[in-house]
């Protein structure tokens, strides 16, 4: 891929976006058709579309844009337990994702290190990892709720369990595939095992470990939305569920955009970290 002409790709992206939104706006403004006229008392009790004999249509981009501006104008308000701004909800979700993710990293990286250094352990633990890894994290949710008996900790546990596998496997793989020559050099220089681990293996495996982390945080961010929709209470997933409750599609679209942006930021942060530790052979 040539990285030239960034301006042209940007312009094309903007054009595609404008076309998409324009088509959407056009199609939503022609939706409501003239239906049977009903008496004014009845019309006052139902939505505008229902009064005209139709269904409430999907919101137009203009309506959604209005809602986005409203949300962004005051993202951090707290007006009671069940009514908090979108920024506050995002903070809750990020808090859960980060605690689950950091816990998983604290377990996965040392464990992956040990597994990677010992072919015996690798062989012994591999069957368990292979069985546990493909389980959808949400499938753990009922079990977690039942045993932990706390929905906040349960959702952190779900994040933990979904983000541990990529980090564990990548760490083990990275550690196991450190070049033999480097280890031999370390041995001839009479490095102790600890020194070898930290000064040779860790830097050598770091890019692979960071890639595992990048995959993990992506999965964690995907899962938190679903987990919060399930348990409710707070968080951006709960915000989506709550607006769904109100059939407020404009708010849901707002939340979807925000979720996408935050996910992108998280991914880019880890991409930067990965670049920082990568090296050329």
């Amino acid at each position: 891929m040539r990285a030239s002409r960034p301006f042209a790709s940007l312009a094309l992206a903007a054009l595609l976006f404008a076309l998409f939104v324009g088509a959407w706006q056009l199609s939503s403004s022609t939706g409501a058709g003239g239906g049977a006229a009903v008496d004014p008392e009845y019309a006052a009790l139902v939505g505008a579309a229902a009064a005209a004999g139709g269904q409430t249509p999907f919101p137009s981009p203009v309506q959604i844009g209005g809602r986005i501006l409203e949300h962004l104008a005051d993202p951090f308000y707290v007006r009671g337990t069940n009514d908090q701004g979108i920024g506050v909800q995002l903070a809750y979700s990020l808090g859960r994702v980060l605690s689950g993710f950091l816990l998983a990293a604290a377990v996965a990286v040392p464990l992956g290190f040990i597994i990677g250094m010992s072919p015996l352990l690798y062989g012994a633990l591999n069957p368990f990892i292979q069985v546990l890894r493909p389980i959808s994290p949400l499938a753990w949710m009922p079990l977690a709720l039942y045993t932990i008996k706390d929905s906040a900790i349960s959702s952190i546990f779900v994040i933990f369990i979904c983000s541990i596998w990529p980090m564990l496997l990548n760490t083990a793989f990275g550690v196991a595939s450190v070049r033999k020559e480097w280890l031999n050099v370390a041995r001839t220089l009479e490095c102790g095992p600890v020194r070898t681990a930290f000064r040779v293996i860790l830097p050598a495996a770091a890019p692979t470990i960071m890639t595992g982390m990048r995959i993990s945080i992506g999965i964690a961010w995907l899962v938190i939305v679903a987990a919060e929709m399930l348990v409710g209470g707070t968080g951006i997933g709960y915000f989506v569920w709550n607006q769904w409750n109100n059939l407020s599609l404009a708010d849901i679209v707002t939340a979807i955009l925000v979720i996408g942006l935050v996910g992108m930021v998280l991914d880019q942060l880890l991409a930067i970290a990965t670049r920082a530790v990568s090296y050329q052979d």
């Binding site: 049977a36 009903v38 008496d39 008392e41 009845y42 006052a44 009790l45 139902v46 939505g47 579309a49 229902a50 004999g53 139709g54 269904q55 409430t56 007006r79 009671g80 337990t81 069940n82 009514d83 709720l145 039942y146 008996k149 706390d150 929905s151 929709m229 399930l230 348990v231 409710g232 209470g233 709960y238 569920w241 709550n242 607006q243 769904w244 409750n245 109100n246 059939l247």
Partner: protein
């Protein structure tokens, strides 16, 4: 242990079954007749302390007789002094900060509006009302003690106590929230198919397996000759998703709580086929539920909560207050619905989705009294559809879970008049239900699983 907010002299004291009147709480009740209604709470608390378990106490009383038992207890414990001390017990509230979970539907009106309209605060409580995603979640959170009390469907405390759909945990239901207030909503394409006999193959949604909604839709179609397990499909769908599912043509209709029936009309997706008051006028729907453990540990808090709920229920029941209540509960912190939708539900002046404005003032009403006969009817339906099996002691379970005595005491305390008994006959779709003969009632149905 008990702070009696009521005047014991004015009310005969008894047990929780309601048949005996009085204000004992936290203690299981004897079947009517085995123990004198005049036995005071103190006597019972003392005997309880002496015998440790209800079973041993009952065994002892059964063995030596009531009078001998009382004399024996009096010989080792100064009952008269204890009674006097008890009568002056202060109204202490053990726990001021209380968490109450609710599902955002108009059934929960008293639980919700008691917060913005200050009924909890009036009774000395700092309550946080927490909106919850669905019935299974509310059940799990209540069982995990994340909530002190919760809005539940009235069959849920029975199911939790019996261990249907969860581990058996003694649960109680000291107050009904709403009566009536549900509806069958059908998709607009079924405007011409209003006869349930034509509903073979329909897919219906109900909020939960253990819900009055499930039992009513089953009853309704079974009366029309359809087997609800074979001729139609019934799915448990969280209320907020009902309208979206109806719109997406995933279901043909639902028997669900408001505001979602009205919301379907508001969004032009469906029409109200009938209100559930046409099936059973005065049927219980949602409830205020607490665990038996919470009552034992926090009797003062429990009674303050119950008084707040009963007062809020009475206020919500008054037609003159309905608009005000609708405005209080519609915002995002509570129901998160357009005010006009909530108002149509609560005032009973509503668009039916067929172009007419209907006026049914008791479309939804609020009455806290948990009739034991309602519990017995629910149990017959749980057994009818195979949710519970084997012989069950209907009256005893009803007494243990539906705490009519406590409700009555709270009502009297607030100057309301509770019913004299806790059991009565009900008429469901023209057929009389006699709580004295639940098995006979059950066997009178042609379509049943047991």
């Amino acid at each position: 242990m008990f702070d009696d907010p009521f005047d014991p002299a004015a009310h005969p004291l008894g047990c929780t079954c309601g048949a005996h009147g009085g204000t004992t709480r936290g203690l299981a009740c004897e079947p009517a007749g085995t123990e004198a209604g005049a036995a005071s709470i103190v006597d019972r608390a003392v005997t309880r302390a002496i015998f440790r378990t209800e079973r041993r106490r009952r065994a002892f009383i059964g063995l030596v007789g009531k009078a001998t038992a009382a004399a024996a207890v009096a010989s080792v414990f100064p009952l008269a002094a204890a009674r006097a001390a008890f009568a002056q017990a202060p109204r202490t509230i053990e726990k001021r900060d209380v968490k109450v979970g609710f599902i955002p539907i108009t059934c929960a009106t008293p639980i919700i509006m008691a917060h913005p309209m200050g009924f909890y605060a009036k009774h000395g409580l700092n309550v946080e009302v927490i909106r919850t995603a669905g019935w299974a979640v509310i059940r799990d959170r209540a069982i995990n003690r994340e909530y002190d009390a919760a809005h539940m469907l009235s069959p849920m405390p029975l199911a939790i106590t019996l261990g249907a759909g969860s581990n058996p945990i003694p649960w109680t239901m000291p107050a009904v929230e709403n009566i009536n207030g549900q509806a069958i909503t059908l998709a607009n394409k079924h405007r011409e198919r209003r006869d349930p006999k034509d509903w073979r193959g329909f897919r219906f949604a109900v909020p939960f397996d253990y819900s009055i909604h499930n039992y009513l839709i089953r009853y309704y179609v079974a009366e029309a000759g359809l087997d609800p397990d074979r001729d139609i499909q019934i799915r448990a769908v969280p209320p907020p998703e009902m309208v979206a599912n109806l719109r997406a043509d995933n279901i043909d209709g639902f028997l669900g709580p408001d505001p979602f029936n009205q919301r379907a009309v508001f969004d032009g997706v469906g029409f109200i086929h009938l209100l559930t008051r046409e099936l059973w006028d005065g049927h219980p729907c949602c409830a205020f539920a607490v665990s038996r453990e919470f009552i034992t540990q926090n009797p003062g808090t429990y009674h303050a909560l119950l008084r707040a709920i009963v007062e809020a229920t009475a206020y919500s029941s008054n037609p003159a207050n309905r608009r005000e209540v609708a405005a209080a509960i519609a915002p995002q912190n509570y129901l998160n619905q357009p005010v006009t939708v909530v108002e149509q539900v609560l005032t009973g002046t509503f668009a039916d989705g067929l172009g007419r404005v209907q006026r049914v003032p008791n479309r939804i009403d609020f009455d806290p009294f948990p009739w034991h006969s309602m519990a017995i009817w629910i149990l017959t339906q749980m057994k009818r559809w195979g949710q519970i099996r084997g012989d069950i002691d209907y009256a005893r379970i009803a007494e243990q879970v539906f705490l009519a005595t406590d409700t009555a005491a709270a009502m009297r305390d607030l100057g309301l008049t509770p019913p004299a008994t806790a059991s009565r006959t009900h008429v469901i779709m023209g057929k009389t239900f006699d709580p004295a003969d639940p098995e006979g009632y059950l066997n009178s149905f042609a379509i049943r699983r047991s």
